[in-house]
Symmetry: C2
Subunit: 311 residues, 2 copies
Amino acid sequence: MDIVAVGTVALDKIETPFGSADSVLGGSATFISLSARHLCSDIGLSAVIGGDFPDEYRSVFVDRDINIDGLETIEDGKTFSWEGRYHYDLNDRDTLATHLNVLMDFDPELPEAYRDARILCLGNLDPKIHASVLRQVRSPEMVICDTMNYWIENTPDELRAMLGNVDCFIINDSEARQLAGEPNLVKAARIIQELGPRILIIKKGEHGALLFFENHVFSAPGFPLEEIYDPTGAGDAFMGGFAGYLASEEGRDLSALKSAVIFGSTTASFTVEKFGPERLLDLTPEEIEDRVAGFRSLSHIPDTTVQFNGF
Amino acid sequence: MDIVAVGTVALDKIETPFGSADSVLGGSATFISLSARHLCSDIGLSAVIGGDFPDEYRSVFVDRDINIDGLETIEDGKTFSWEGRYHYDLNDRDTLATHLNVLMDFDPELPEAYRDARILCLGNLDPKIHASVLRQVRSPEMVICDTMNYWIENTPDELRAMLGNVDCFIINDSEARQLAGEPNLVKAARIIQELGPRILIIKKGEHGALLFFENHVFSAPGFPLEEIYDPTGAGDAFMGGFAGYLASEEGRDLSALKSAVIFGSTTASFTVEKFGPERLLDLTPEEIEDRVAGFRSLSHIPDTTVQFNGF
């Protein structure tokens, strides 16, 4: 299997300045797999849902040939749900409630076909679950992992131990500073890389993302969007686009990683244009290529020579 | 004259997590002119100082052939002073005190040689002063202007009227949102451009800067620095590098403006490496060229083709 996405599948309640919606399809595994699917066809999803999970949402995956053999259903349980409210400028959000429900006892057992995953995507979950999944996969070419401040604060030892087995770690800037205990992002990145991940991606929301790889740094801009409806899932869509690109490309050098970051930034930038994963469902290859070209022109620095008139 | 920089020359008191200093040479005209001087030799400074201004600071300009005929001295007055404290991560700062002193009655009268300025740089000042200076210059090729939240809140009408005569407006992201009354930066940019400036640069601190020109957007990354000592003056150093590049280059198209943004980002990134304008005093052409190359590699996106495996 090219990509296995382990994470959450959720029914979210989201309030934004532009509208609210209940029971929106959400969760990290949802956004990772739907985003990766645009660049890669052989994807499996591992998550848990309750008996309340609508069949139409199940079809979202099935209709797109995303393998859901690893989607466990607890018939008498309720699906995990996140309730959040975004502020006026969409850069900040409040978590109003987190109903773990069936996620409480989630202990994924990967279907046999998943265990040969080339690329393993670990969405935000308890690092103990990540560790358990890592023991089940045989020899993944690349393990990509996300986390959040909750695990940095509450299970730092488990998180650090798990990071020793991660190739690529994707977190946001405040989480990087918190995990490293260092306000300078460049220093924080080095501290985190020393915990294990050769590749570190620091997400900065509307400001884009930084890729740290060996001694290189690459800065991907945020795409200047006029219409942002719902930032939920953008970070997971980033991971999906990143992984999807690498599944379709043999290189693992700086150039390949940079391109993967741009494809991740591209799927993330589309995701925020509509509610939930809606925009990921009707995205076309032409739209993706256009936006990748947009990223290129957005950050292209022309060759220049200058005459210095020094002091 | 290639560049005339009108703004403040100050004696600042600065506290950072790495140390504090009193009577540090500061002010917008200081950073603009010292930064521009690396790329352009014919620069005049217009500002006001008190009798307390040290001769050694005056020499900083004179020794570098920056014309200070427009530097007015009020012998029985005290020099403008800003007192600020930076937070742990250096992204936030508190203004502890602003002693306007001689700035209170500043009403610059430009020396004759200044009135033919090709590029006029208006550092943050009362928009009424900006308007007065604009009446004194004959036909500047480009007027570049900065402001701050104080003027947006307290003299919005004067600011808007003045912007009708500005070619390039440089502000930070929160000021852009505030001035436009619009949280989305792309929409805010268009609203501000409709007030007059064909060129708008939105500074985002460690996240770099956005250039809006006609229908184009360019995103310059922030340079990933490991050692940041004092962010004071970075925005003004940006303006100086931007103007200095344009003084040495005939083009005014997107390509020239992008390069100017990178040179501005370069001088700004050096400025924060030491206290006050110290780093701008020993900067070499080689260091500037190296960092410009660093910006280029930092944001370079390789050519990629990808095989789509659409839904």
